[in-house]
Subunit: 329 residues, 2 copies
């Protein structure tokens, strides 16, 4: 296993320590190490909390700060955080307007965030993201998986919460954004979980996993390598078909790297995807390209399309100041 | 070769097309495809131009915009741009105050930028970056190589140019920043140049290249894998020794990924490096962590320390709006 680490047992702790030290102007790691929280909470604002297994960085800790999340609960690598993490986080960051948990649709996460919500003394609502159209049920999931679209939900809700929108309205807005988001990914290599020390799956030199999940879960099929244009064609056609009439709205195109794929290739995929979407008459109103919802060191990428409207565009464009996403301030 | 591309012949062109479409609010790709330039030039401001072989993205195109570069000349992968690119770029973006070329110290780049400067009709000055302490002369270099510290030179000069600082003063400021920057990198895997189709160098499953260059050039030695702490110890000790008394100034610590290394590991290295520097009494005044000066898909990272002063800190903190680095606006 070729990784920068001291031991698989301490990689998460040391990474969090480095992350919180590098971004101490905007966030703090709680002394319990159970959560990271926004440094300057805004009294009376709904607290947005997300989390999940680690290994998807910068999701979620990298999205803590003004205009996005108030806190994130990191689990061990590809392992749900425990309910006590969510309970303590909610108690720490709820300034009176309640909490909204943003949870990716994986059985462990859904169960543990649900228990955390029940055990919390304050008001907690939840929203489950499930934007991955690759498969319906899967290894860790009943229903579709939550993947890169989660970032868009967090950004839009973060801006809305900053404006003082109340809990119930935020939940509805989050459901709208999630319902308008579609993603599909492909892996060229496997990720390697530090504690396992070897690749999660075997894959041939001329193979790819089409529809892969962000933990290296199987997708639609194992296939021979395809060109960028062939891949974009299949991915974007599937997304447009699944979007239905939503694809007539102005859209955000988000090309996301899985951790081992460099910027140059992501822009090749962006170029290829944009051509296909435009052929379908889709208007690309906003763009995002980067390795933002990752799977450790997996080479691969996902394409996400989100149908926007004036409200969502306004919140997408609103200022954000986090470690990994920043504009307008 | 596992990459997202249509063909090695078109990867650069398609990547640039995607990049310029995704960031059309801040930059444009010239119709000749010879350079990318800032969309809204600022009349009377010195034009900052950089460039070099492609494969190091987001360097340099990702740093075009308010408060950083005015243009970048992308060569083919790991190949210098040609002098005519620089001549045409200078003619396009010089609004009357002259141009400053920011050039990484590689023989091809130095020669071609030099010819470009000579052939330009306007006033052109140059600054050569050479922050890599790994080796003195190397495969493509007389003297030290220019690596991640180049980003810091570009950011600081960009802010100063935005303020209206004249050409000669910018050149002096750039030389100061470069003179105060020290970098050292390590590779766990080789990069694969698309046109070559196979890894640039062979490396064993238990080996690393200590002091590697950003084209996969040999470093100080081939070595057995080490822990993050052991690596940080050797890298940071070497940097501090080379910095001399400069290390007493407040410093910027920049942990840079080479393209195939995920965020989680970069923060482990940041944590490890910061501990070593602080043991030496170094004050970490600013931090930057990300894959910003890359070597295609190489797994690895570099550590850069830059001694700052009030002037440099002011320009580092000043607003910047580029595709890959953005704050304050």
């Amino acid at each position: 296993m070729k990784k920068f680490l001291n031991s698989a047992d301490t990689i998460l702790e040391e990474s969090l320590a480095g992350f919180s030290a590098a971004h101490s102007d905007i966030l703090t790691l709680d002394s319990s190490k159970k959560f990271i929280q926004r440094k300057h909470l805004k009294p009376g604002k709904v607290a947005l909390i997300s989390g999940g297994g680690s290994g998807h960085e910068p999701l979620h800790g990298g999205f803590i700060g003004h205009g996005m999340l108030d806190a994130a609960c990191p689990g061990q690598v590809f392992t749900s955080p425990t309910p006590d993490q969510m309970v303590e986080t909610a108690a720490a960051v709820d300034t009176g307007a309640g909490c909204l948990f943003i949870v990716k649709n994986y059985e462990g996460d859904v169960m543990n965030f649900d228990m955390g919500a029940e055990m919390s003394s304050g008001t907690v609502e939840q929203i489950i993201t499930n934007d991955d159209i690759a498969v319906e049920d899967s290894t860790y999931t009943t229903g579709r998986r939550g993947v890169a679209g989660t970032l868009v939900v967090e950004k839009v809700l973060g801006a809305a919460a900053e404006e003082g929108i109340p809990l119930e309205s935020l939940k509805k807005l989050g459901e709208k954004v999630n319902g308008n988001a579609r993603s599909l990914g492909v892996a060229l290599t496997s990720c390697t979980v530090p504690a396992a020390g070897k690749p999660t799956f075997d894959i041939g030199e001329d193979e790819m996993e089409f529809g892969v999940g962000i933990h290296g879960e199987p997708g639609r099929r194992r296939d021979k390598l395809k060109t960028a244009d062939e891949l974009a064609d299949e991915i974007c056609n599937a997304i447009v078909a699944d979007m239905g009439t939503r694809a007539k709205q102005p859209c955000l195109l988000f090309v996301n790297g899985f951790g081992g794929t460099p910027s140059m290739e992501l822009y090749v995929m962006y170029h290829a995807a944009r051509k296909v979407f435009e052929k379908h008459g889709v208007t690309i109103a906003r763009s995002l390209v980067g390795s933002l919802v990752t799977s450790l060191d997996m080479a691969g990428c996902s394409i996400t399309l989100v149908a926007m409207d004036d409200e969502v565009l306004k919140y997408w464009d609103a200022p954000v100041h986090t470690a990994a996403l920043r504009w307008g301030m």
